[in-house]
Amino acid sequence: MGFETPVRIVGAFKVKAGAKMLVGIPDVGLVGVIAASHIVQSLNMVEAGYLDSDEIPPIVVIHDNEPKSPIRIYNSGDFIVLTTEIVLPAQTILTVSRSITKWAKEKGVDTIIGLTGLATPNRLEIEKPAVYGVGSTPQARELLSKAGIKSFDEGLLVGTYATLLRECMRAEQPNITLLAEAHLQFPDPGASASIIETLNTLLNLNIDVGELLDKAEEIRVKARELMKKTQEQLRSLRKVQEQELPGIYV
C-alpha cells in the first residue's frame, strides 16, 4: 500500500498508538545514521517497510542474498525507525520529507524525532558532545524542557532535517529535532552516543552505548564512503550557513 505522491511508503504494519518515529539519515557527522543503526540493533527491531520513489538513486542493498530498498523502516511497537545509507539527492528532500510527514500524520505517529549533528568547529576539544533540542510545538518544547535537554535558541538549520521540521510544522505533526555537537566532515560515533543517551532520558529508554563507543574506530572506517558523499551534499546545500553570523531576526 502506498500514497499517490512521487514518494511512497510501503509497508502494511500497524502503528501502535503513541509510537515515536526516529529518523536517521546522512547529515553532519553521520550522527543520525550511526545512532539509528545502533538503536535498531539494541532494540532488536524488525524491518517493516521501506520508502520507494522513482527519484531516489538507482541503488538496491543486497543483504543475505535478499534485495532491500536503501531507505528502510523498522518497527518495535513503541518505536519506528526510518534510516538509510544513501545520500538523498537535493531535489528529492522536499518530497521525501513531505511524504514521511504525511504518512506519520495519517498513521497517528505521536512525534517524529530527527537525530542529527550540529557542526562544531572545536569538536576536537570536546570530550562529551552536548545535545540540543528543537520542538515544533509548545508540547514538544515542554517535553524537551522537562527532560532537561538544552534548547537550541537561535540559529539556522539547513538540509533534510530542516525541511522535515518545516513540513511537520505545516502539517501540525509534532517534531523534535535533536542535534549533538559533532564533526562536520567526519563520522562521529561519540556524538551519536550522546544523542542516544539523550533519547534514553527523553523516552525513558535504556540503550547501552558502550558497544557503540567500543566500535567507534571500526564505524569511522566503514562509514568513510558515505561520509564522503554526504560531504558533497552538505557543500551543495550550503550547510556552512549554520555557522555564519546571525542575521537580524525580529
Binding site: Q185, F186, P187, A216, V221, M227, Q231, S236
Partner: protein, 148 residues
C-alpha cells in the same frame, strides 16, 4: 637553508591529477572521476580530509582511526601535504560484494594539493582522538605599502 628535493614523476602526476580535480570542482562543483577511498591492490585506505584556509594559513584535518601518533609520517612541500600512516592492526572488511569476499588494509596514504603556497618549515601538527590537524602558514610575498 633547506635543499629542495626533486619530485618523482609519480608525485608530479599525482599533483597534476589533484589540480585537474580542483579545477573541475571549482567549475562544476563535482570531482570528474569519482574514485573509492581505498586501493585494494595496495591495501591502502585514503583518509577523509577537511581543508580550509584563512588569510594566513591553510588548515587541514585528517581522520585517522586505528593510527598511533608515533607511526604518522607527514611531509609538506610548498603546495602539497603528504600523509602516510600504518594502522596498528590490520583493518579487515568482510563480505564485500560477490568477488571481494574479504580484504585487509594496512595503512592510510594520501597526497593533498594545497590551495596556496605554504612555508613547509613552519608547518605544525597535532594528533588527538585519531584526528590529525595540520596548520600550514602561507608564504607571504610582496611589500607593505604605506597608506598616506
Amino acid at each position: 637553508m633547506s635543499q629542495r628535493k626533486r619530485k618523482s614523476i609519480f608525485e608530479i602526476f599525482e599533483e597534476f591529477i589533484g589540480h585537474v580535480d580542483k579545477v573541475f570542482e571549482e567549475l562544476v562543483g563535482v570531482v570528474p572521476f569519482e574514485t573509492p577511498l581505498c586501493d585494494v591492490s595496495k591495501r591502502e585506505l585514503k583518509p577523509l580530509v577537511h581543508m580550509y584556509e584563512t588569510e594566513d594559513e591553510v588548515i587541514v584535518t585528517i581522520d585517522l582511526p586505528y593510527v598511533r601518533k608515533e607511526d604518522i609520517r607527514l611531509s609538506a612541500s610548498e603546495n602539497t601535504l603528504k600523509i602516510e600512516a600504518p594502522v596498528r592492526e590490520r583493518i579487515r572488511m568482510s563480505r564485500w560484494g560477490p568477488y571481494q569476499k574479504e580484504v585487509e588494509f594496512e595503512c592510510f596514504r594520501r597526497t593533498i594539493t594545497l590551495p596556496a603556497i605554504i612555508d613547509p618549515e613552519k608547518t605544525r601538527a597535532k594528533f588527538k582522538d585519531g584526528i590529525l590537524r595540520v596548520i600550514l602558514p602561507k608564504k607571504i610575498y610582496g611589500y607593505r605599502i604605506i597608506v598616506e
